[in-house]
């Protein structure tokens, strides 16, 4: 009798297990469908904003944030996406959240220039110059080439964002942009390394207005 009870229990548990797996699989499929519905169309706004300095449109940025946040809910190990969400939250006027996401991005994806740069600029805007300098220091350890190739390897996060007009990736523009930001970061670093709190440094810092970039 006991054996029958155990067999019935095993049978029922197996049924629950199979049903549970099906439910999980079904919801994964639904989440993927949701991602397709959340995806901004066309996906060229960040390209325009970063490369061509298009006007800031918070509604559009919110759309990207929704998409990438949901992407992270479905695939929490897509570390590239944390950096993009952090970037979005900065422009949505929520720097604490931006810092949180950028820190996660740096922790799990340390070979990528933009995450260090973006977090450094947020700290710079908060007048945390010491933190800015140390982050830029870390950023410069990464070869621009590594960062550049890193972007184009990011199939689900950066590649769709890097699609410019007609969904074509313009490599030259992306490379030029990366070079310009590297150079301006070097200038910022030099100013930060000048004698602390000097009149000259304060004036130079006041003239700077660095902004965050998604890539």
């Amino acid at each position: 009798m006991k054996a029958i009870n155990i067999l019935v229990a095993i049978f029922l548990l197996s049924l629950f297990f199979i049903a549970g797996q099906n439910v999980v699989q079904t919801f994964t499929v639904a989440n993927t469908a949701a991602l397709n519905n959340l995806k901004p169309e066309p996906m060229d706004y960040f390209w325009e904003l970063n490369i061509h300095h298009a006007a800031l449109d918070r509604n559009k940025i919110r759309t990207y944030a929704d998409y990438y946040e949901h992407l992270l809910q479905v695939y929490p190990f897509l570390w590239d996406a944390y950096g993009v969400v952090g970037y979005c939250y900065h422009y949505l006027n929520d720097d604490p959240k931006a810092i949180k996401f950028l820190k996660i991005a740096i922790q799990h994806d340390p070979e990528y220039f933009w995450n260090y740069y973006n977090l450094a600029i947020i700290y710079f805007n908060e007048s945390r110059y010491q933190d800015t300098a140390s982050l830029l220091q870390e950023a410069f350890k990464i070869s621009p080439k590594v960062s550049f190739y890193r972007m184009f390897k990011s199939e689900y996060v950066y590649v769709p964002l890097l699609s410019g007009p007609n969904e074509k990736i313009v490599f030259e523009d992306a490379a030029t942009h990366l070079r310009e930001v590297y150079q301006s970061s070097v200038v910022l670093m030099q100013i930060l390394n000048q004698s602390k709190n000097s009149q000259e440094q304060q004036e130079a810092l006041g003239r700077l207005n660095p902004v965050l970039y998604a890539f």
Partner: protein
């Protein structure tokens, strides 16, 4: 345990408040889409009250009740849709617009759910009320159109009111519902041309079951039909293409519920007399199937007679959902009632019916999740 009017009323008011607040949260997370923007831009913002009543606006549906109420709400909040949104083809994010434009629809849907709850606490039991509410809340159409600045939630509310008023004459024959039913029919006629079918079916059923005398039948049919017909001649109804037909249809006609109705029909009509423990709810089965048949008739007529074309969407049959919710709840109670003398069968019937609600809930959740409707922040 049945509740008296006052207790039922208080409980239902609480349910209404909870759902109304829920509706505000849903509004915040659902972006405005093309049809809502179009209706607001071309009809509500563009026309005066008199223009809305006198058929001047370009929306396909000319029945004015929804538009007049919507304009009233916009006037109260001094709201005008920003001009830039008029040409938005994609979804539009604008929190004040999302909330203000959806206040009426949120009110309609919350009230419809509260009415269902009231009906069942008043005439059945609190358990029945929560079961019916669950049956409503797992229906995809409720979530898809809860907050939608278009006439569908109003249509849902008025159909719910119409069916509950009709039901209550069977549950409690002393109740005088004719005047309220007349008012509901007038409002329905001012909301949608399809109300012609609904009004006629309910009148026909009232006549068949001998619930109303000739004068009362005339009252609930003649004037509402005249109004609905008047507006029908000015309505622009597109020819409907059948792409995505079945996925849309399953939002309204849920296969597992049809299965329950077939079992219900068998227990009601197919079993020997001694097993017929069915209560007074059997009348609702023909109502549901007539609603369904009329829905298909409308689609069929549209499919072959009109000129332009557009896809078939489940919202064209939204009025079937309140009938389905009531039918499913009533059929479930009757099946349980029927099986009560046999505890083993009763237990299985309860598990089966409860399981259907849970499975439908999961399916609806999956569908709403996949549509990403409420995933915007």
């Amino acid at each position: 345990m049945r509740f008296d009017h006052l207790k039922s009323f208080y409980l239902s008011t609480g349910i209404f408040a909870i759902f109304f607040i829920t509706g505000f949260l849903l509004s915040q997370h659902k972006l405005l889409w093309l049809d809502e923007l179009y209706t607001q831009h071309t009809a509500i913002d563009a026309d005066s009250f008199s223009g809305l009543v006198s058929l001047k606006f370009p929306d396909g549906n000319k029945n004015p009740l929804f538009y007049v109420i919507q304009k009233g709400v916009c006037n109260i909040f001094s709201y005008h849709m920003p001009a830039a949104y008029a040409h938005e083809l994609n979804r539009t994010r604008d929190m004040p617009s999302q909330i203000i434009l959806r206040i009426p629809s949120n009110f309609y849907m919350s009230l419809a759910l509260a009415l269902i709850f009231y009906f069942f606490t008043r005439f059945y039991s609190i358990f029945a009320a929560f079961y019916a509410l669950s049956a409503a809340l797992v229906s995809p159409m409720v979530w898809m159109y809860w907050v939608e600045a278009r006439p569908y939630p109003l249509w849902f509310l008025l159909t719910t009111a119409q069916l509950l008023l009709f039901c209550s004459t069977f549950v409690s024959p002393k109740l005088k519902t004719v005047k309220l039913l007349f008012l509901t029919h007038i409002l329905l006629a001012l909301t949608t041309p399809t109300s012609m079918f609904q009004i006629s079916i309910i009148t026909l059923m009232g006549w068949w079951k001998g619930r109303y005398n000739a004068k009362q039948l005339g009252l609930i049919w003649v004037l509402p039909m005249a109004i609905a017909l008047f507006y029908y001649f000015f309505d622009y109804i597109s020819k409907i293409k059948t792409y995505m037909f079945f996925p849309n249809l399953y939002d309204v006609v849920m296969p597992e519920r049809i299965f329950v109705y077939v079992i219900y029909a068998l227990t009601a009509w197919g079993l020997p007399e001694k097993y017929k423990k069915i209560t007074y709810n059997g009348f609702f089965l023909p109502v549901f199937f007539l609603f369904l048949a009329c829905g298909f008739t409308v689609l069929f007529v549209d499919l072959f007679t009109k000129n332009s074309d557009q896809g078939f969407f489940s919202r064209y049959l939204i009025y079937i959902t309140p009938a389905d919710i009531l039918m499913f709840s009533l059929a479930s109670f009757d099946l349980r009632q029927w099986s009560r003398p046999y505890p083993w069968i009763c237990m299985n019937v309860s598990i089966f019916l409860g399981g259907l609600v849970i499975i439908r809930g999961l399916m609806t959740y999956r569908e709403i999740l996949a549509s990403a409707m409420y995933l915007h922040s």
